[in-house]
Symmetry: C2
């Protein structure tokens, strides 16, 4: 038994880290338990390494765009091994910075796997070792914040082997690009990694079971995204179900068996069909924590799973986004510390797909707004006339806005550099801007943001 | 004598074009007189071609950044002649699109040089030809909007010859990059063009008479910008006065004579020391239009140079920015049409320097705020820990915010992709955001915008 704490946090990813710093800033004694690396999926196996790969290879996409216009010649050959070394360096640096920030804030970090020993006590066992009593720590707490994260999921028949059938966790560690790759699942993760390996010279097929890639996005946006990616050489098929895989033990590859008598041979297969919440913490049930059908921790309007237990980030299944997780983490810390009492309110949350093109969404898609029964109009503009898009040889894509009662409720976009205006879109949707507000604002010229402006000022049409 | 109009506009650049469309949308009869090309300096000899050049060559900067990290090898050789052809195509396409939009809006475009024939009549002569009575047009008007633009200026001794001593107008037409280039004047134009030719392989020196490059920017921002550009291989000297030029008629180059017994030899010299307003319209004085000492058209709080004459954009000397000009143009059109009566108010105006790095500013610099006598604090964050900046191998730069009475009054930044958050900064400065508002907003992760967030949430220090 060691010293008790006011707030104990299980999980040191974006949600847990933000919660720990927030709680410490409110003068609470805080313990953060992490079984693996600080930073969670986002830093170690998700957004950050993926963006490193895309950033390091962005020049390749830009050279291709200029070469298509016959404006010049060249190429860039990215060294995967050097990139992996840099990744390791950057990630460990970030983890060290996080550890230092936690230490400076007075947060105690305990390494190990936590389990509940009753309503107000956690037992932490060293992770990945045989349990030895002398290494265990018992920590009594007043409030518990579950920030357990999520992990890649796969359906039957697509079991990963870490060798030829990979999860995002595995593929981000590859020391060389495969000659051919089939990506199963065209959500953000699948789309981003497919683009990266296409840039690296792999022959890439991207398969999606839903009728469109980026299934959570506006149908028009998705169609444009698909058209742009196809033009870049991606073999893209939506509305196809994968029946199973055939591992070729002799030659080391995999055959992806599709429904329609079709099979795709590849050196590697990436399974990126979704993620499931981590909730495998012993003792949660006894503490009154309930899990939904989809396996997420059920929470109330205050993000509470029980009277004194909060669940934030991916594990509550609300939104699998690092920035949403951080925001929830800060809220839970404040609520647990008694600094606030009202229910959780997130404001507008941006959703992004990286690469070239980029796609963003804030608020509901036009289709979602219609399904909600809102009387909506939409307005749009294409990037074709934007001089910055033209300068990058990337004039394809569009911005689409959804309006209700004269106010912006959603912005979706796809195109080169669409992330340029994601923060502006967050503010506009959050504040419910009117057309007049857009008209009064001065947008820098020339910028990609001007296509957002154009879309918002364009004639509004019924959905 | 031809048909009269409600509103006559002299000049078809950003200000005049925006004014014409706005006035037409208010059901006024509008005539737009342009002596050269629609689009003015911005489209034809300024922002747009410069951004085309920077966009087309951006891959070169990115390859250099990744190569410095030893992540790969390669290069991109941009064909200047092909780029010039593309420029011509894009510009003429844009001009045609403008002409179509004006026609569709019912604006009559008259090609030629306008002069005032009295308080309510303009005479338009064919530009660049011998005056022939039969080609002249007299157009009576009710209200006049002067949108005359500006042109490059030069001090004595730095007269351009269009061959070796160039203005921005000339250098944007070069069919090949010079082996060596001296850029005199390190404002936005000089900095952007110096970067472009550096990418093209020219040996480039950038000279600035003021103690810092980007003289209108925050001193810290300017110092970082200088450090980044030097690291890229730019020979940069601030605080140096150019005494004169020596044209070498035998070998075709130029020697730039500096104060301190120093001379720089170069194939080409770009003189980018400033611009002066165009006000050389016959008849302005008689109409009561007054010019300031600096040669700009003096305007009142309604942007009026006389009771029924407005002056907008560069020619009134307020701000030499296309987006500010457009905004003024729209205001003047509305005011001239009687649709509004209050004084002109611009809101926050962004100022941008393009390239890699980019620099942005909204609101006053910390130094300007102090000079205004405002009690200010500043907060800052560097890009070093930003994963997107790291991914592009461009971790240098910073974001700096200026606060007064708990509200953001200014944002300055320099770094790779700093333009990503210019629109968000415009909104925050315009609305005078508090720290709490920043804290509540969800910023997409990972983005460069998060360094803006970090800067705004960092501890505030006295100026």
């Amino acid at each position: 038994m060691t010293q008790s704490c006011d707030i104990l946090i299980l999980g040191g990813g974006p949600a847990g880290y933000a919660a720990a710093l927030e709680a410490a800033s409110l003068n609470k004694s805080v313990v953060l338990v992490e079984k693996d690396f600080l930073g969670g999926t986002c830093l170690n196996r998700g957004c950050i390494p993926t963006k490193l790969f895309l950033g390091a290879s962005q020049a390749i996409a830009e050279i291709q765009a200029q070469s298509r216009l016959r404006l010049g010649q060249g190429g860039f050959s990215l060294d995967m091994r050097a990139l992996q070394k840099r990744k390791a360096l950057l990630l460990s640096g970030s983890r060290q910075a996080m550890a230092k920030a936690l230490e400076a804030a007075g947060v105690r970090v305990v390494q190990g796997q936590g389990e509940l020993l009753g309503p107000n006590q956690v037992l932490v066992r060293p992770a990945g070792e045989t349990t030895r009593e002398d290494k265990e720590v018992r920590i009594p707490f007043d409030r518990l914040i579950l920030a357990l994260g999520s992990r890649p999921a796969w359906p039957k028949g697509l079991e990963p082997d870490g060798e030829h059938v990979l999860l995002s966790d595995h593929i981000l560690d590859l020391q060389e690009a495969p000659a051919s790759l089939v990506v199963i699942g065209a959500g953000a993760i699948g789309i981003e990694l497919a683009q990266f390996f296409l840039r690296m010279g792999s022959q890439v097929s991207l398969l999606e079971a839903a009728p469109q890639i980026a299934p959570t996005e506006d149908a028009e946006i998705s169609a444009q995204l698909a058209a742009i990616l196809k033009r870049q050489g991606l073999d893209l098929q939506a509305g196809v179900a994968v029946r199973g895989l055939e591992r070729k033990h002799n030659r080391g590859g995999v055959a992806v068996i599709l429904d329609a008598d079709q099979r795709l041979d590849a050196d590697k297969v990436l399974v990126a069909v979704g993620r499931k919440p981590n909730t495998d913490v012993f003792g949660l049930d006894q503490a009154g924590v309930v899990r939904s059908e989809r396996g997420a921790v059920s929470v109330d309007a205050h993000l509470r799973a029980a009277a004194h237990i909060y669940a934030v980030g991916d594990c509550n299944g609300r939104m699998l986004l690092a920035h949403a997780a951080e925001h929830q983490g800060r809220f839970a810390a404040r609520h647990a510390a008694g600094a606030i009492t009202g229910p959780y309110r997130s404001g507008a949350i941006p959703f992004c797909i990286y690469g070239d093109p980029e796609a963003i969404r804030v608020g509901p898609t036009a289709q979602e707004a219609a399904a909600l029964g809102l009387e909506c109009t939409v307005s749009r503009a294409v990037f074709a006339a934007n001089p910055v898009a033209q300068a990058f040889g990337a004039p394809h894509g569009l911005v689409k806005a959804t309006w209700n009662a004269g106010k912006i409720i959603g912005v979706s976009a796809v195109g080169h550099g669409a992330l340029h205006f994601v923060s502006a879109a967050v503010i506009m949707v959050d504040q419910g801007w009117t057309r007049d507000q857009v008209e009064e604002m001065i947008f820098a010229h020339p910028t990609l943001d001007e296509t957002l402006r154009q879309a918002l000022l364009a004639p509004q049409e019924p959905l």
